[in-house]
């Protein structure tokens, strides 16, 4: 990286008359004008004008200001930043798939429908659930869809219920999704192991509770070992168990949510199934259910008869449509490619080596950083800045200093039940060398915190920009470029 590159905004290098694209000459008459009666615009004020060379350099330079998985370890906890196999980009871009129109007659898109059906089936096998929808565009969208299914089922009993139980370690999307479904949230405390407190659950679980939303392993990276008992408690009162599958990377081929009493599950294809995060999407959040909830899945549903695929929108109990068309198809193709490449042993090895790698890091950093919960870690481990606080150093300082070592920081300040959290998820695709680089960097930073805390408090030192003023950004928001007057 060349730190001194300063790339202006495209608007600042724009000059009248420059072009980076041309169309062939219009080959039909310019008349008639059928836009008569519509309000037309003149110029698109402020829109840029640059050459193709300038476009390529602009975005190439911008790209070089990004850290990414292709560059190194990206240990964001609960984000599962694993390597994205390149072949899957090629598959998604196949012209027969990428060029297919979603409104095309079904008999002309049998291949695309087969892609959808095959992934649904494979996810069902991996999750131990009876039916899947691939429509949700991301994890949070999957949560919303899943909770709507539960609500629709309960609506039929004339009592949709009022509450959803959510552990205090849950992702912020859980309460937000439950809320859009019309539910109030009751928080369940974690016990000293960092798992759901059964006593607290038994106390809160009654006939007013629609569901428990549980992440397993939870956001501490701890497996809810009482999960079967938890499901019994919820089911005994007529409630449903919703599992947030963000952390499925610890489970693939080892256990199946459906076998543990989970009724509804969302999976993040952009986490567990290796599709790239794209700097914040597109993702895909398929939702799986037990048979009882299948009639409520969003329309359309893909059906197969004698090897012919079609889409069924006539499902009277369905919650309706949750997005246009059939989901983030291009992401679905990539996930299918990944599962087929790995096969059964490879799917099991995801969990095995994700958990081994996380435990290797945990072992390497124990003693250097504070570990609030001694419970065994699965695919991630959560340390805190408690030891470093003595020297006035926070998890933010540690995170920023890691950048000077050429590494991406862990997830910070989450889960909320660990103060000053550093949540580390290496994933299974990392080499030992990359894991060791991270461990050594973290140890060096722990030493620096003791010996030279100012070095951390002023970090990062070697990045394109240094610590940014986020308070000022929120106080006086500047959310777009404007021409200087």
């Amino acid at each position: 990286m060349i730190r001194e590159i300063r790339e202006p905004l495209i608007f600042e290098i724009s000059a009248p008359g420059k072009r980076a694209a041309e169309l062939p000459p219009l080959d039909v008459p310019a008349e008639p004008d059928l836009l008569h009666g519509a309000a037309l615009r003149g110029d698109i004020e402020g829109f840029p004008e640059v050459s193709e060379t300038e476009i390529v350099r602009h975005f190439t330079r911008l790209s070089q200001m990004n850290y990414c998985v292709d560059l190194g370890l990206y240990p964001l906890g609960s984000c599962t930043m694993k390597y994205n196999p390149k072949v899957n980009e090629r598959l998604a871009a196949l012209p027969a798939l990428a060029g297919c129109h979603p409104q095309a007659p079904h008999d002309l898109v049998q291949g695309s429908l087969e892609v959808l059906k095959r992934l649904e089936t494979l996810l069902g096998t991996i999750a131990g659930l009876d039916a899947f929808t691939l429509q949700p565009a991301a994890g949070a969208h999957g949560e919303l869809t899943g909770m709507m299914l539960i609500r629709a089922r309960l609506d039929e009993t004339a009592n949709p219920r009022k509450y959803v139980l959510i552990p205090d370690s849950a992702h912020g999307t859980n309460p937000s999704s439950a809320h859009i479904c019309g539910y109030s949230v009751k928080e369940i405390r974690s016990n000293d192991d960092g798992t759901i407190d059964l006593g607290s659950l038994e106390k809160e679980m009654d006939e007013d509770v629609a569901a428990l939303m549980v992440t397993n392993p939870n956001t501490l990276g701890v497996f809810e070992r009482d999960i079967c008992r938890i499901a019994e408690i919820v089911h005994a009162k007529g409630g449903y168990v919703y599992m947030d599958g963000a952390n499925m990377n610890a489970l693939t081929g080892i256990v199946r949510p459906g076998d543990m009493g989970v009724d509804v599950l969302h999976i993040n294809l952009h986490k567990t199934f290796s599709t790239p995060h794209g700097g914040g999407g597109p993702g895909s959040g398929p939702v799986g259910v037990k048979k009882e909830l299948a009639p409520y899945l969003p329309v359309p549903v893909i059906t197969e008869e004698d090897g012919r695929f079609s889409l069924d929108a006539n499902r009277p109990k369905s919650i309706g449509r949750v997005r246009s068309f059939y989901g983030n198809f291009g992401v679905i193709v990539r996930a299918l490619g990944y599962i087929l490449a790995l096969g059964p042993k490879g799917i099991r090895e995801i969990a095995e080596y994700a958990v081994l790698n996380a435990n290797y890091i945990r072992k390497g950093l124990e003693g250097e950083y504070h570990l609030k919960y001694a419970t065994p870690s699965m695919h991630e481990c959560v340390f805190s800045d408690k030891f470093q606080k003595e020297f006035g150093v926070t998890n933010l300082d540690i995170a920023k200093r890691l950048m000077d070592y050429g590494l991406h920081p862990p997830t910070m300040s989450f889960p909320l039940i660990v103060h000053g959290a550093l949540m580390i998820e290496p994933t299974e695709t990392e080499s030992r060398r990359d894991l060791d680089l991270f461990i050594e960097a973290m140890k060096a930073i722990a030493r620096e915190a003791r010996d030279n805390p100012d070095l951390l408090k002023t970090a990062p030192h070697g990045t394109y920009v240094r610590r940014l003023d986020e308070v000022a950004a929120a106080k006086n928001p500047c959310l777009r470029w404007r021409e200087e007057e």
Partner: protein, 448 residues
Amino acid sequence: MSYLSLSDKDRKDMMAAVGIASIDELFCCMPEAVRLTGDLELPGPLAEPDLVREIEGVAGRNTFGRYLSFLGGGAYEHFIPTVVDYLSGRGEFVSPYTPYQPEISQGTLQAIFEFQTLICQLTGLDISNASLYDGATAAAEAVLMAHRVTGRPKVLMARSLHPQYREVVRTYIKNLGVEAVEIPYGRDGRLDLEAFSDLVDGQTCGVLVQSPNFLGVVEDVQAVSGLAHCAKALSVAVVSEALSLGLLEAPGKLGADIVTGEAQSLGIPLSFGGPYLGFMACRKEFVRQLPGRLCGQTKDVDGRRGFVLTLATREQHIRREKATSNICTNQALCALRATIYMETLGRQGLREAARQCARKTAYALEALRGIPGVTRKFAGPVFDEFVLEFAQPWDRVAAALKGKGVLPGLGLGTAYPELGDCVLVCVTEVKRKDDIDLLVQAVREVMS
């Protein structure tokens, strides 16, 4: 194919370091009763050449590519300059997470800032978010936003709003005590303003009007906004064909308070319906009610310009159940594609592409309406889609044209029973005169 990076020796050494004799020990906290005892019944593993062959085989069962298609209806084929794929395919853009650590994510953040600016310029509004899932969920988010802003329980939706968008709105509001009422379209295909003014009242949080609407007709957004504002309801302009904004007046300048919709047209492949690109822009007084991520400009400790995600107190990870939306991961890479597309076409190119769509559409419509048994259904102004009515049953016409290798457009009978023998035809700049003439000739033969 395995993507692991550990040698046998690494595994052994690491297990020793962790203090386990077998990998199984890592999972001892899981209940024995539910532990899988063997491998799952899954296909594979496939080496890369076999994987490519396998998926190419599946893709080969799509025969859509052999047809001359005039399908639109919420997904549009436009030419995508090579630089869009080339640049957006760079690993530095494809493989990072959401830019939570701004110092090492300036590339993604600056691109989002440029995207927000471009969307503001196109829509004529002050603020744009960093993207939403797609046009349908964006429309639903706009309804929830109008509901939050006004506190009112009723939303009006044009019947000419994309049928799938209407369905998604209904799914989203079902459990929130918001009621949706449809406004009919008039004889010219535009929103029936009289019916609208009867329906809009003090209970109305907003009106959703799509322009060009699902029937291809450009709406009078100014008149709709004026009526909405009389009732202190928000005017929400929905755009599903974003390229139309190259030619049509920015809805924000016609009184729309929120402009939202689908930007697939701006450099994103059809890809059987996704991933696409929801977008949303609004007036600045509503910024705290806007859903989704926002990127803002700030300075670093040395006073240098930089960009960060900001106003996060609206979002789920801070506000939890009180957030403006549950959205977390959005469609960032699609927004990047749209940014590169818009900047590549630029000030002149975007207008030119839009102008060619309109001209070719006009050429096709004029030629088709001259065929006996074919009539133009709506007289309102059109951009790159229009509705034709056939004097023969649509199923027969469609089958006969398909036999000639032509897909004339989307039959409307399923979504609009009153338009049973009507088709929505879409002509964009990628169609040449020859293609259009071929369509016209085929229709002429089928109708004779």
